[in-house]
Amino acid sequence: MQIPFTVENREDTAVYNGKLGIWLFLASEVMLFGALFSSYIFLRVGSTNWPDGSSILNIPMATFNTVVLITSSITMVMSWVGLMEKNYKKFSLYMFSTILLGTIFLVVKYFEYTAKFEHHLFPSTNTFLAIYYTLTGLHVIHILGGLIVNGYHLLFGKKMWETEPQRFTNRIEVSGLYWHFVDLVWIFLFPLLYLL
């Protein structure tokens, strides 16, 4: 038996199930990160001595990572455009670029973390670093998750593209929504932790 509404829209929701599912998931993600942002505000307004993020963290590295993540967002949406144009090669190229950029983000983050550890700046050092590692660590896990899903599409997507092209296109759209959300979270994390 085939799974219903993977391609065609449902009459009651006017969207296919995958799209409604990912938006519901993203709504729960908003609340997850929202709770941590709320904790950040709580800790910051209650603190008598809050360090300047720019004096502890590496702004050029984080700016570079912001550029990398925004670029990965456009390559992700272009991979979907490739499928809409029925051009699998274009999809593969842009999806590979997205994965590469996501990996670069993680490598930069690895260097950032190790530099902090070398200077004995751990989550237990102070409240600022505790919330910094919690928020960026959770974000890193999300990037990892996105890379696994995108990697799966790149390596094993061809078969579905040949048999059910619209279903595969929808899968890429849904994966793209998740990836853009991860980019969106970073857009707020960057100024909040590094610049303010």
């Binding site: 969207v15 709504a27 709320s38 709580f42 925004i70 967002s73 456009i74 610049l195």
Partner: protein, 97 residues
């Protein structure tokens, strides 16, 4: 979506990408100015909100999305606002913690 519509969308994506890049460097530049912490937070969050709106509207296709998705997001926004206001309300109430 026709090939013409798709090429129009791609042009928009490129414009949004350029806009996001410019706003990223504006954020970094503004943070180096001596404007005070409150003004700094307002400017930085306003730029971040603009960038977020651009990503959601164009890359996430929210501009062309169906009503049910908007309803879902409206409810999420209401709960998120409550969540973010909690620590501020606690502070305004003068509760010691």
């Amino acid at each position: 979506m026709s090939a013409h519509d798709l090429s129009k969308e791609v042009k928009k994506y490129i414009l949004v990408f350029v806009g996001l890049m410019i706003l990223t460097f504006v954020t970094v530049y503004v943070s180096s100015l001596e404007v005070g912490i409150i003004t700094g937070i307002i400017i930085a969050m306003a730029i971040a909100a603009t960038k977020g709106t651009l990503v959601a509207s164009f890359f996430m296709h929210l501009l062309h999305e169906k009503k049910i998705i908007f309803w879902l997001l409206i409810f999420t926004a209401i709960f998120l606002t409550g969540l973010l206001l909690l620590p501020i309300l606690v502070k305004m109430n003068g509760v010691r913690y």
